[in-house]
């Protein structure tokens, strides 16, 4: 632990002493460096490369700082640095769409910051002015504080119903930036929840079932919404909403299992970061994969890991999730068996969404790549090498997880439970394809209503035409002028008269 409270802001301290911040730090560092390396190649011919790197580095610094922060102020500093700088990455392409998405993102980010700020203030005050979050763990939460922190951090984490910005902002950013947004940055919200909402707190344990249900809804919502879109990166963003739902579910399970779920949560975070990162990278250069089996194989490897194919990291974390759910002491109104079946259904849907994604990636209108024009063969090969590296790391991950977090390999019966949802999804997809099931056309690719509200909000604080209300002007100046003009004639005489009168009065009073 590095104590900086005598040097920097009050209470400043950095350190990685925890069971979750340490792996989080290393995993984030790894992904940032990898995507940074990828950006070196992908942004090579970018006319706005300087801007890209500026915001990239600021985000990087913010993210690393918030993980290492031991006190609330440092966390908040890192968090706001991350949130505000990510705006520069979101609007990087500078298209109208990107600016719209950026506006929505910034509005929600600022709102989230303010909510988080209020929550942290209340928490610091409840803890008698101590700023380090370790000592906050034993301070009981209050409903208002909990709500504020959940909303503030949730707006970053992007689970339903706080996901609005996510499907807008992720698709417009450059590929490595959206990979980072989805893979690392939205996890900052989750990390904040881990730090500031102690699982052992009584109020937290009362609220955990509610969070669990929200997580489930989010998991299903993300997939169902994603199925209605045809742009690969939008589908991936909705998939992130769904995956953040699973993570929220795991977060709620922390309170219900007495923190036994922590290793699974960490494994899930790493798994999702890598898998989603690879998919976003692939989506950014899908055009270059046409007709090349090995490049397409990389996509399938990443997708299959997310679909929880046996032996993949996805299989490990999904099994772990089910085990934890079975072990949790749920309240009476939540049926453990039904939840478990819902998870299985969720697995089917996840597989379905990824199959949908694969189909959309092959579709002709999505084939264009950002890099076709100028990219040299070496540049392209380098980028694919990075992706290969990432995907191989993803497939080595299960062994690492078993070593590091003692996750159990699934048993044979569990393997069967993992495989049949996949087969079912394939069957459904095939039927869907064969029978040509379609919803009415206006269900697809809808513009999000939230963009409209974002614009309304902008008009509220930035009116198009200046509507200055004219208050009736009340001025004493004309009156003053008139008075002066009137007095001008008689001013000496009046004063003299007044003086005489006063003098007389004085004499009389003396007598």
């Amino acid at each position: 632990m590095i104590d900086l409270s005598n040097w920097l802001w009050p209470g400043a301290a950095l350190g990685l002493g925890d069971e979750f911040t340490r792996p989080w730090w290393y995993f984030s560092l790894l992904l940032w460096l990898l995507f940074g390396g990828f950006s070196l190649l992908s942004q090579r011919h970018d006319p706005r490369a300087v801007r890209y790197w500026l915001f990239f580095v600021l985000c990087f610094a913010g993210n690393m700082l918030l993980i290492a922060a031991l006190d609330a102020v440092s966390f908040y500093l890192g968090f706001s640095l991350l949130s505000l700088s990510a705006y520069g990455l979101v609007i990087h392409s500078n298209t109208a769409k990107a600016r719209r998405a950026g506006r929505l993102y910034l509005q929600l980010a600022v709102l989230g910051e303010i909510l988080l700020f209020s929550g942290l203030i209340l928490r610091a005050s409840a803890a008698d002015g101590r700023f380090d979050w370790h000592s906050w763990q034993t301070v009981p939460l209050e409903p208002l504080t909990l709500t504020l922190l959940l909303l503030g951090l949730g707006l970053k984490a992007g689970f339903w119903p706080l996901h609005w910005w996510l499907p807008q902002a992720h698709p417009v950013a450059p590929a490595p930036a959206s990979a980072l947004l989805s893979g690392v940055m939205i996890k900052a919200g989750l990390l904040g929840m881990l730090m500031f909402l102690p699982a052992t707190d009584t109020l937290m344990q009362q609220w955990a079932p509610l969070l669990l249900v929200i997580g489930l809804i989010s998991a299903f919502y993300g997939i169902l919404a994603g199925l209605l879109y045809t742009q690969p990166k939008v589908i991936l963003a909705y998939s992130s909403v769904s995956q953040m739902g699973y993570l929220l579910l795991l977060f709620a399970l922390l309170s219900l299992t007495g923190v036994a779920a922590l290793p699974v949560l960490l494994a899930y975070v790493v798994h999702h970061g890598m898998a989603k990162g690879s998919l976003f990278l692939y989506a950014g250069m899908a055009g270059e994969a046409a007709g090349r089996i090995w490049r397409q194989a990389l996509f399938w490897l990443a997708a299959l890991s997310m679909m929880a194919l046996p032996l993949s990291s996805g299989a490990l974390v999904k099994t772990g999730l089910k085990t934890q759910l079975a072990a949790a002491n749920l309240p009476a109104w939540l049926n453990g068996g039904a939840l478990s079946q819902l998870l299985t259904m969720g697995a089917v849907l996840t597989a379905l969404l990824l199959l949908h994604l694969a189909a959309q990636l092959r579709a002709p209108n999505n084939k264009q790549s950002n890099h076709t024009a100028k990219a040299s063969a070496v540049n392209s090969a380098g980028r694919w090498a990075f992706l290969t590296l990432l995907v191989s790391a993803l497939w080595l991950l299960p062994w690492f997880m078993v070593q590091q977090w003692q996750l159990a390999w699934p048993t044979l019966a569990q393997y069967a439970g993992l495989i049949w949802p996949l087969l079912l999804a394939l069957l459904l997809r095939w039927l869907w394809y064969k029978l040509g099931w379609q919803l009415p056309a206006y269900w697809y690719n809808r513009n999000a209503a939230v963009l409209y509200y974002s614009l309304r909000l902008k008009r509220l604080y930035q009116p198009v035409s200046q509507q200055q209300r004219q208050w009736p002007a009340f001025s004493l100046r004309p009156l003053e002028r008139r008075l002066n003009r009137m007095l001008q004639l008689l001013v000496v005489a009046t004063t003299a008269l007044l003086c005489c009168l006063m003098f007389v009065a004085l004499i009389f009073s003396a007598v």
């Binding site: 102020v73 303010i114 604080y461 200046q466 509507q467």
Partner: protein, 502 residues
């Protein structure tokens, strides 16, 4: 420090700007070098003296100087921790503003008059900070009004004369009301020295009504300068003054004089216990909260840069009042430290607005498109100042908001956190679009009135360096808030001394 200095140092600090100011009045317009050297000499002497005093006060020494003035009320100057906070702020920012003003007014007429009143204005501010009792405070408060008026109307245009008239009408009536309040209080308890914990407690029983009246009168009088809600009308008008004057007006001299007066009144005249006993804090708190929201709300609609900044000042200065009115130690730290932080941030913003106006002829916000490429340093400073106003760490603004928020939670007024949150949102809503315009939008047309003021820098170096200085200062004050030298630790020292008396 020798007894001689203990007596005369406060006087010397005032004279160090008063004397050069008086000499400058007599100079010819062409004696530029002499005038500049006099100005800079005054600034440097003042800074050295203030530094000496700062060290002595930190070590616990007392400064006291008195002249017979009125029966029962001497003219007293004293240096305590609170007055030092304001004195240091005004002297350091005076340095920056002097350099800025020299660059800004180069080749413009009537500079002797300008710099003469400029020095008088700072002398009055420092005198007001060092005032040892209410009568002395009142004297310097009125002097400040008179010294600032010629600066506001310096341009001599119809608009600035109108603004000046409004300014005089507001501040003189405010002064009269303040005088009534002071006189009323004087008739009750005389005017002893400002003491931590206040001095009205002795006559509290039986005089509640009169004391409340006196408090209301004095808050009204001070509220005119501090731009509290119904009395703020002069401030947005007065921004027609030249940029260095608005910078000084908003950051140090006038607005802060009102806020500083409120601090003195609450802590050193009435004291926390009497404030509780008379239940005066709640109305003041409500008023300040309303002003915060109102100022931010009105700032949203302004299209002129300086007008937007002016409404932002109305809102931000009330943070100080609010911090004081909460009557808790943490809130007091927040309010006091905001006195310094707001000053540095706002002066940076006004300097930047002046740079844009002087170099490119930009006055409206919509003309700012793409200015980040033409004037990157100024735009960067503006960005930092704006982020500080919103309260984004690690700028100074965050530290004061953090302590104000903690203070609100400490005195169990959580609704005030809502006020801070709303104001923060509105601050973001009116500053972030400006930043967006500067950095992300391309230049939309030729600059309204571009001038080449320097071959090497984006603008004249005398306009640029003060901006860089204050921008760096505002980041340093935030990042190194935990160190011994920071305004935060000084504010904590003051609060320790203020709340220790019981």
């Amino acid at each position: 420090m020798s007894p001689f200095w203990q007596q005369y140092l406060p006087l010397a600090i005032i004279l160090s700007s008063l004397l050069p100011g008086l000499i400058i009045f007599t100079l010819k317009e062409t004696q530029v070098k002499l005038r500049i050297s006099l100005n800079l000499l005054g600034v440097s002497i003042k800074l050295v003296l203030v530094l000496l005093m700062w060290q002595a006060v930190k070590a616990g020494q007392q400064f006291y100087f008195s002249l017979p003035f009125l029966p029962g009320a001497d003219l007293v100057l004293q240096g305590d921790a609170l007055s030092l906070l304001f004195v240091v702020l005004s002297s350091v920012l005076w340095l920056a503003t002097t350099i800025y003003a020299i660059g800004y007014l180069e080749h413009s007429p009537l500079r002797s008059r300008f710099f003469g009143y400029f020095s008088l204005c700072v002398s009055a501010t420092v005198g007001l900070a060092l005032a040892g009792n209410l009568v002395t405070f009142l004297l310097f408060y009125e002097l400040l009004t008179l010294a600032t008026f010629p600066l506001v109307v310096h341009r001599g245009t119809a608009e600035s004369l109108a603004a000046g008239r409004k300014y005089l009408a507001y501040t003189l009536s405010g002064g009269v009301i303040l005088m009534l309040g002071v006189a009323l209080l004087h008739s009750l308890v005389q005017s002893p020295l400002f003491t931590p914990g206040g001095y009205v407690a002795a006559v509290l029983s039986g005089n509640e009504g009169l004391l409340m009246l006196a408090f209301a009168l004095m808050i009204t009088g001070l509220g005119v300068k501090a731009a509290l809600l119904p009395l703020h009308g002069w401030l947005p008008q007065a921004m027609v003054a030249p940029a260095p004057v608005s910078a000084l007006l908003h950051a140090v001299a006038v607005v802060k004089a009102g806020a500083f007066g409120i601090i003195r009144l609450v802590y050193d005249v009435f004291g926390v216990e009497s404030m509780y006993a008379l239940q005066l804090a709640q109305p003041l708190m409500l008023l300040a909260a309303a002003t915060i929201l109102y100022g931010s709300w009105r700032a949203l609609a302004q299209q002129d840069i300086k007008r937007r900044l002016a409404y932002s000042t109305i809102s931000q200065v009330s943070y100080i009042t609010l911090g004081v009115a909460m009557l808790g130690p943490l809130a007091a730290v927040g309010g006091l430290v905001h006195l310094v932080h707001q000053g540095v941030m706002k002066i940076t913003l006004f300097f930047c607005a002046g740079n844009f106006a002087e170099t490119l002829g930009i006055h409206k916000i919509r003309e700012l498109n793409g200015v980040g490429r033409r004037m990157p340093i100024t735009a960067m400073a503006f960005t930092l100042g704006a982020l500080g106003m919103i309260g984004v760490p690690p700028t100074a603004g965050f530290i004061s908001k953090w302590y104000l928020g903690l203070g609100a939670a400490e005195v169990e007024q959580p609704w005030l956190i809502l006020v801070f949150a709303l104001s923060g949102l509105m601050n973001a809503a009116y500053f972030l679009p400006v930043i967006y315009r500067m950095w992300f939008l391309p230049q939309s047309g030729p600059w309204p009135a571009e001038q080449r003021l320097s071959n090497r820098f984006e603008t004249h170096w005398m306009l640029l360096f003060p901006v860089i200085f204050t921008a760096i200062l505002l980041v340093l004050m935030g990042v190194f808030a935990g160190t011994e030298l920071s305004p935060l630790s000084w504010a904590q020292l003051i609060v320790e001394r203020e709340f220790r008396h019981d």
